[in-house]
């Protein structure tokens, strides 16, 4: 299978850089898979699990707050949080969800409230995904 260059960068370090065959990215408007030769494309990320496939190897990373960019050279994902699923701290998740729920009750208008509700949903979905991933890994 053809491979392409993939880079996952967080503010503090270059998390991943190398040739891969397929990457599934949680985009803001839905998950999308990137293969070699994907059309140029930019989208924000939704909190979720990013899967890197290379041959029979798969690597799952949790990403949050960032962007994905596909161009001729390959895929670049910028994420403020990027950690391997196995290394995630469960407590951090619980606090993040609690904070998001707090935002729902504090939202001033309807639009902000909907946004906050969506954030909670996304986080919960991601937590479920990660939880399942964590169980499978053990």
């Amino acid at each position: 299978m053809a491979s392409f260059a993939f880079e996952l960068v967080s503010p503090t370090r270059l998390v991943f850089s190398g040739e891969v065959e397929q990457v599934d990215v949680p985009g803001a408007e839905g998950d999308f898979g990137v293969l070699a030769g994907h059309a140029p494309f930019i989208t924000p990320l939704r909190p979720g699990v990013l899967t890197v496939r290379n041959g029979s190897e798969t690597k799952r990373l949790f990403v949050k707050d960032g962007f994905a960019e596909v161009n001729q050279k390959g895929l670049t994902v910028l994420a403020e949080t990027a950690v391997a699923v196995e290394e995630i701290e469960r407590d951090a998740f619980a606090t993040a969800i609690k904070e998001a729920e707090q935002a729902v009750t504090e939202a001033k208008d309807e639009a902000a409230r909907w946004q906050a509700v969506a954030a909670v949903e996304q986080l919960k979905a991601a937590a479920a995904q990660v939880g399942a991933g964590g169980a499978a890994a053990h």
């Binding site: 370090r13 140029p40 930019i42 910028l78």
Partner: protein, 291 residues
């Protein structure tokens, strides 16, 4: 002439100071290594972010509806200078260099009849700017409590800047920090962040047209504040590395100066001691001769 006891005390005190400067130099060297690694590993993110923003900016034609953070307000009457300095002194000219650059810019702008406002990150810069621009300083961000610089700190600062920008408090924002080149060379730098200035270089897109999901406007709306935070974060990390580098060379100098001073004082001490012995001998001999 100083008595022997005074000289001895002086030498002891210089030696104690030398020990402190030596210790500070070693601490700075250890911290520098960490700070430098952090600054270097933050570079890829900032670079990619800039490139991505550059790609989008190039494909968006500026219209009055374009995000203000990208195209600016169209005016340049009020300037905000975001001055990042250290929280601590004893690091050579590090803080003064940044402040000097900011002050020169501020004076030049004021001479053109523009309004200048300041937002200080770090206590040292604030203390120096306060003398001249007390009323123009909007806010001081204190990072003394932060043990390790995190992205959150930068995001906080960026949020403050964006909030003020959206409230129409300024038109152009420039970031001042010190770029870390090497241990002995730190370059005070001014970088305009609102509206951002892009360097013309190969963007990697090869002129391809991107598809956007949801659309340019919305992506830019998210990307621009994040880019700001990233730039501030990079500035803070570069500053941290520069500060330790500057402190290290300053303390190295201080240690060397203390060594020189000890050597000089020791010579004076020995001469004085010998002079006294000679004097006593002469007194004994002339006493003996008189008998």
């Amino acid at each position: 002439m100083a008595s022997l006891k005074e000289l001895r005390n002086r030498i002891a005190s210089v030696k104690a100071t030398q020990k402190i400067t030596k210790a500070m130099q070693m601490v700075a060297a250890a911290k520098l290594r960490r700070a430098q690694a952090a600054a270097e590993s933050a570079r890829p993110y900032a670079e990619r972010m800039e490139r991505m923003l550059g790609n989008i900016a190039a494909s968006v034609t500026p219209t009055p509806e374009s995000p203000k953070l990208l195209v600016g307000t169209g005016k340049s009457d009020v300037h905000l200078l975001l001055v990042c300095t250290a929280e601590r002194g004893l690091c050579g000219a590090f803080n003064s260099q940044i402040v000097r650059l900011a002050r020169e810019r501020a004076n030049a702008l004021q001479a053109e009849g523009k309004t200048v406002k300041f937002l200080c990150v770090g206590r040292k810069g604030f203390e120096q700017l306060r003398r001249q621009y007390e009323k123009q300083i909007l806010e001081v961000v204190d990072l003394r409590a932060a043990r390790t610089l995190g992205y959150e700190h930068a995001a906080d600062i960026a949020q403050k800047v964006v909030a003020r920008f959206e409230a129409g408090e300024f038109d152009i924002c420039t970031l001042f920090y010190s770029r870390f080149k090497s241990v002995i060379s730190q370059i005070p730098t001014a970088q305009q962040i609102i509206p951002p200035v892009f360097e013309q270089k190969d963007t990697g897109s090869g002129g391809a047209v991107y598809e956007y999901e949801p659309d340019e406007e919305e992506i830019l709306g998210e990307l621009l504040p994040r880019n700001l935070a990233t730039q501030v974060f990079r500035a803070l990390l570069e500053n941290a590395a520069s500060e330790q580098g500057a402190r290290m060379s300053a303390m190295d100098n201080a240690t060397r100066n203390a060594g020189d001073m000890i050597r000089r004082q020791t010579i004076i001490y020995n001469r004085t001691r010998q002079a006294m012995i000679t004097k006593e001998l002469i007194e004994i001999i002339s006493g003996a001769e008189a008998l």
